[in-house]
Amino acid sequence: MEDFSIKNLSFKYPDRERFALSNINLGIKKGEFLLVIGESGSGKTTLLRMLKNELRPKGEIDGGILFLGNNLFELKALDSAPKIGFITQEPEAQLVSDRVYGELAFGLENLGLDREIIRARVGEFASYFGLVKEFTKPTANLSGGQKQLLNLASVMAMNPEVIILDEPTSQLDPIAAVEFLDALKRLNDDLGVTVIIAEHHLENAFKLADRVAYLEDGRLFCCEAPEGLALLLKDKRISQTLPVSSRVYQYLDSDGKCPLTVKEGRGMLEKYENEHYISIKELINNEEIISCKDIWFRYEKKGEDVLRSCSLGVRRGEFYALAGENGSGKSTILKLIFGALKPYRGRLRRRSESLAYLPQNPKNLFVKDSVEEDFKSVNNSYLELCESFGIEKLLSAHPYDLSGGELERAAICKLLLLSPEVLLLDEPTKGLDSFAKNELGMFLRERIKEGLTVICVTHDLDFAANFADRCGLLFDGGIICENDCNTFFSGNSFYTTASSRLTKGIFKNAVTYDDILECIKAGEGK
């Protein structure tokens, strides 16, 4: 039996000329784990929202959708609300209660269920999702990953038939993201719920899927099992986003099944094992432009120390990446360096006073009603810079109407209007797709050549491995290890890139896809 069958579905937003979705035909089986991929703007969100009556965008709809054999559009609200669950990418804004148990109970309360039934259901789901310790806590005290898990749990408590997720992990740190996807897979296995998920980062999601649907400009290009997809997408730009194992498989044109996991991928590489190693780039050895020596910091007088005897030195003209789990204090360090907070002990020295700071939420940089007005308030000669960023078309838009990547670029552009010497970036790659990320990375490297220093807090280890000079790991209030990127990532087992895990013990110091290719080529050349 099919949960959804989408027939000749087309959709157009009211004031757009292009169809956001055109002529989609897709059947989604009961209990299937369907991954939807596609470049930014390809219509993933639009497609997912079409499946949920309460969230369907307004516009011109053609074709139809059947849900369990009935017309979805005519389904009664009381049937559709509990049967189809929906989760979006903002963990925080989706919460509606001040306490965890209130959130879990919210949907059940809406259905008018009996108090005792709710009590049983809420208890069961809290323990299934490991939220028992947090049960009575305020939701504001949860970490981002826990918030998203709570969103999932509270949707699941309504016993849905299908659960639809739109980039649920884009705001989470790598470990929380893996945990979230695992919980999802477990639900799919244990309860047989149908899962439909759109994701940009496929490293972890790809292997979980039964089928992967690839959208291209609003059309369904194909919908295949993940192993088959790698070959079909060979010439597409999107193949850059596939898991490293699959990309290497594509590159090698090997026969046999396409590997999806590190375990499967390693077999494929072993025959290339060779002496070649990635040489470590020489580090810049300028004076330290920022130096923190044994700084201590806490937010509240009686609170816990967030930073304890933390030391950090950043040299002029380098790209320093700082990683660490949620809540380890990464944003706090940036704010201290920027001067928005002051350490209560220790010495913090800035050799330059022209710092610019990109907050974790780039929207916080914009206070006016259009990007242009915001730029104007900083510096009147903004046009040239905007052109070099390729954002001159966005100037008249409201900052909140920009897509994630556009917003991030506009924010960095606004910061550069101050012509700073040091740029402090707090998770600039959050919510960007791989292409936007690469562009951003390349752009930053250009600027660094011109003398900029960048300190970047990031969860995105691939981004750090590709673009940073040095990388540090924040743990337990201090920087516990710090090195050039290749040494750093090849030394770690979990806090590292998939490429490094794939090649551990095979290629020395290879931490990015490009490194792997270099090693393979060197091996073939021999």
């Binding site: 307004k58 509606v96 009603d369 409201h398 109407d401």
Partner: protein, 222 residues
Amino acid sequence: MRKLLILIIPLLIIPAVVVAGYIIGRNSYAFVSALVVLLGCVPFFLAFEDGNNSGRRVVTLAVMTALSVAGRFIFAPIPFFKPVTAMVIISAMYFGSGFGFLTGALSALISNFYFGQGPWTPFQMFAWGLIGFLAGLLSDPLKRSKLVLILYAVFSGFLYSVILDTWTTLWADSGFNLTRFLALTATSFPITVVYIVSNVVFLLIFTPLFSKKLDRIIKKYG
């Protein structure tokens, strides 16, 4: 039943309480007034519960309330600058009088979670609620003319201070003592004036901004 209650409370129960208080005598005035303002809030709560309020409206009410409460923290470093009254008026102007009452009443209730509940809570709830309610009734002239807006801001500043001073007087004297009332009003007068000025400033700046923001949201999300 509830619909009936919405009518019965203001028309029957409140007068009955007042009469009963009068019969019992002077000592009960403060108690009766507290009861009356609490009962005064109830019809609005009931109407909200019964009304056909979509998720959007409910969230908007919560957001407006939260903004006015958080405003009290946010502007704490700037003395006398408390945007609560202004936010309540804005909320009433754009979302109607019932909504305005609730924004006011809930702002008082919730902000007292942080600043301390006390016997004054019901009076604050009622005072801010009433300011919101009246602003909702006057929303058209308020939107059209800056002068009306300024006058209303001044009026609401006084209304708030009169309601709270009346209660203090009733409480302290078990009856209405004009001298004490005047003395209270006089001591709080400078503060009231500062509040009024800050309200006017706030309203003049934020009313146009808010309407622009709201229009954008409505256009974007329908």
